[in-house]
């Protein structure tokens, strides 16, 4: 198995990746991820050796015909069911910190 030489990811880059992901990382995680991400991205970079000139990307293993169905409201769920697992509600709506 040939492997690209791992290039460590900078800690700044790790913070950027965390921000994209809406995650916060501790300093310890930052150091750990910087090293591990370098190894993993080097493995992924193996693909640069594959000639894909003119190859159409494949996003799903089979072709799926878009199935249509009548546009009718089903009303399968009650408000109580939907709200039952919410961390905070006022009985009618989900409650979040003030936005505006």
């Amino acid at each position: 198995m040939t492997k690209e030489q791992p290039k460590p990811v900078s800690r700044e880059e790790v913070r950027h990746m965390a921000a994209l992901s809406r995650l916060a990382v501790t300093e310890e995680e930052e150091r750990l991820f910087a090293r591990q991400f370098g190894d993993i991205l080097a493995h992924m970079a193996l693909l640069s050796k594959v000639d894909t000139e003119g190859v159409e990307p494949l996003y799903s293993p089979h072709a799926h015909a878009a199935a249509t169905r009548p546009d009718e409201a089903a009303n399968l769920r009650t408000r109580a069911e939907i709200l039952a697992n919410a961390p905070e509600t006022d009985g009618e709506y989900f409650v979040v910190p003030r936005i505006v």
Binding site: L20, S21, I40, M44, P57, P61, A86
Partner: protein, 490 residues
């Protein structure tokens, strides 16, 4: 008899239940006692619904068996990534610690309609990300064959539960090997059906172009019976294929005892560097048996496994980062306390709720999709995916199935890959191309490794929607090979 109930196959117990030689309550009680006796050693389950299972069994007994219910009175477990109405469902994540769904997954509904008794929820790697069940936020599961070793993953709780006789079948999910590899590590049969064969409605999504739900059982015939129950079209999963119903159980029963006329492709690249000698030996013995049964073994060439592995991890992580964006602390799941802005609420809830491996994959997934890297990683991987899929399809034009090891090694000691995620990723190399290509893959126990004494699995891979051939070959081979037996846990 009660002491022996748990060692019956699903087909045997279902037949005894239909004839009322056993009651649903007797069988359920036997399984619950087995759970009580084995859980301290293996921790296969995250939630046991003893009360619900006993009530359901009593209700079934009162109504009497119905021949059209192939799982009537049969106790089962399901992976905790499958939604179960009124029963906690966490995907082994802190972020869903107190989540109780108000609906059943499609496959869970199908199990209930078929008369099954749901005993509980099986442990797994958090959001199915892992191959040892050590990434569960709650506890690691241990292998019933040797409790110092992992059961495989991510459906490790399902495999351990079936192997330990806690239930007669379990459902798992397989994104890159998560049914087949734990089945191999625990000496069970596991099937990843063709992409589109089984609805994922109610399966907590990990990577939507790869995920499939499938059975883990103790025999191929049992596997066929469960597949017959869970397969079928569901308009709530847009990738679910409308196809006529098939009776896989019947197909297996009619399989006969010969493999005459069967062409088995053997990719020599999968038997090379990195494969443990004991796995190679067990797989080659099984292939030799197949040849003696009449199968023709043909050398085939498939794309290198390291290319498939790189392709897989880019796609799986990208899709995971998108799917797991829904866990935001607003509508369900964990919400961090004491936050003042919406942004803080998202970031803090997710950072507290997700474990390390899940964070790693979400972050790498966001990265390979991000501006400046999308073409080099994600688009490139989608292109190599087409090359891989086409190559597998072409090879399968020339043979009935492809045979490979399930994993390069047998079950490893707990904690072995704790600090090096890439090493763990490379262990999935033989199973992931099957998900990339959307093909069905069967894991069949073929022996015990001569060094480790742990089970070895042979993987049989078939044409899309040709589970019948796969199960038939598996069934004939299973009957010809010496049984690996059951772990001596008690």
């Amino acid at each position: 008899m009660p002491g022996d109930i748990c060692s019956l196959t699903l087909a045997e117990v279902a037949s005894a239940l239909q004839k009322r030689e056993l009651s649903a309550l007797e069988v359920t009680r036997a399984c619950l006692s087995r759970i009580e006796a084995t859980e301290p050693a293996i921790d296969a389950l995250l939630h046991v619904d003893a009360e619900g299972a006993l009530a359901r069994a009593a209700e079934l007994d009162a109504g009497g068996p119905r021949a059209e219910q192939p799982l009537w009175g049969v106790p089962v477990t399901v992976k905790d990534a499958l939604s179960t109405k009124d029963i906690p469902t966490t995907a082994a994540s802190r972020i869903l610690e107190n989540f109780v769904p108000f609906y059943d997954a499609f496959v869970v509904g199908r199990l209930r309609e078929a008369g099954a008794v749901l005993l509980g929820k099986a442990n797994m790697d958090e959001f199915a990300m892992g191959s040892a069940t050590e990434n569960s936020a709650f506890k690691p599961t241990r292998n019933p064959w040797n409790t110092g070793r992992v059961p495989g993953g991510s459906s490790g709780g399902s495999a351990a539960s079936v192997a330990a006789g806690q239930c007669f079948a379990s459902l798992g999910s397989d994104t890159g090997g998560s049914i087949r590899q734990p089945a191999a590590f625990c000496g069970c049969v596991g099937l990843k059906p063709t992409y589109g064969r089984v609805s994922r409605y109610g399966l907590f999504a990990f990577a939507s172009s790869l995920d499939q739900v499938g059975p883990l059982t103790r025999t191929v015939e049992d596997c066929a019976r469960v597949l017959t129950v869970i397969a079928g079209h569901d308009p709530r999963d847009a990738t679910s294929e409308p196809r006529p119903d098939e009776d896989f159980t019947l197909a297996v029963r009619n399989a006969g005892e010969s493999l005459a006329g069967v062409r088995l492709g053997v990719p020599r690249g999968f038997f090379g560097e990195g494969l443990a000698d004991e796995v190679r030996a067990a797989c080659e013995t099984a292939l030799e048996s197949a040849r003696k049964l009449g199968a023709e073994l043909v050398d085939v060439e498939l794309p290198p496994t390291d290319i498939a592995s790189a392709t897989y991890y880019i796609i799986a992580m990208a899709e995971a980062s998108s799917n797991l964006a829904r866990y935001d602390g607003v509508r369900y799941g964990r919400r961090a306390p004491g936050v003042h802005t919406l942004e803080e609420l998202y970031v803090e809830s997710r950072s507290e709720g997700f474990g390390e491996e899940v964070k790693r994959r979400i972050m790498l997934g966001s990265y390979v999709l991000s501006s400046g890297y999308y073409d080099a990683y994600f688009r490139k991987a989608a292109q190599t995916r087409r090359l891989i899929r086409d190559a597998w399809r072409d090879v399968l034009e020339g043979c009935d199935a492809i045979a490979t090891p399930v994993a390069p090694v047998t079950a490893w000691p707990l904690g072995s890959h704790a600090t090096d995620p890439l090493q763990a990723y490379l262990m999935d190399a033989y199973t992931i191309p099957v998900n990339l290509a959307g093909l069905p893959g069967l894991s069949l126990p073929v022996g015990l490794g001569r060094e480790s004494g742990m089970p070895v699995g042979l993987q049989l891979i078939g044409k899309a929607f040709d589970e019948t051939t796969l199960l038939s070959i598996g069934h004939v081979l299973e009957r010809a090979l010496p049984s690996v037996g059951a772990p001596r846990l008690l």
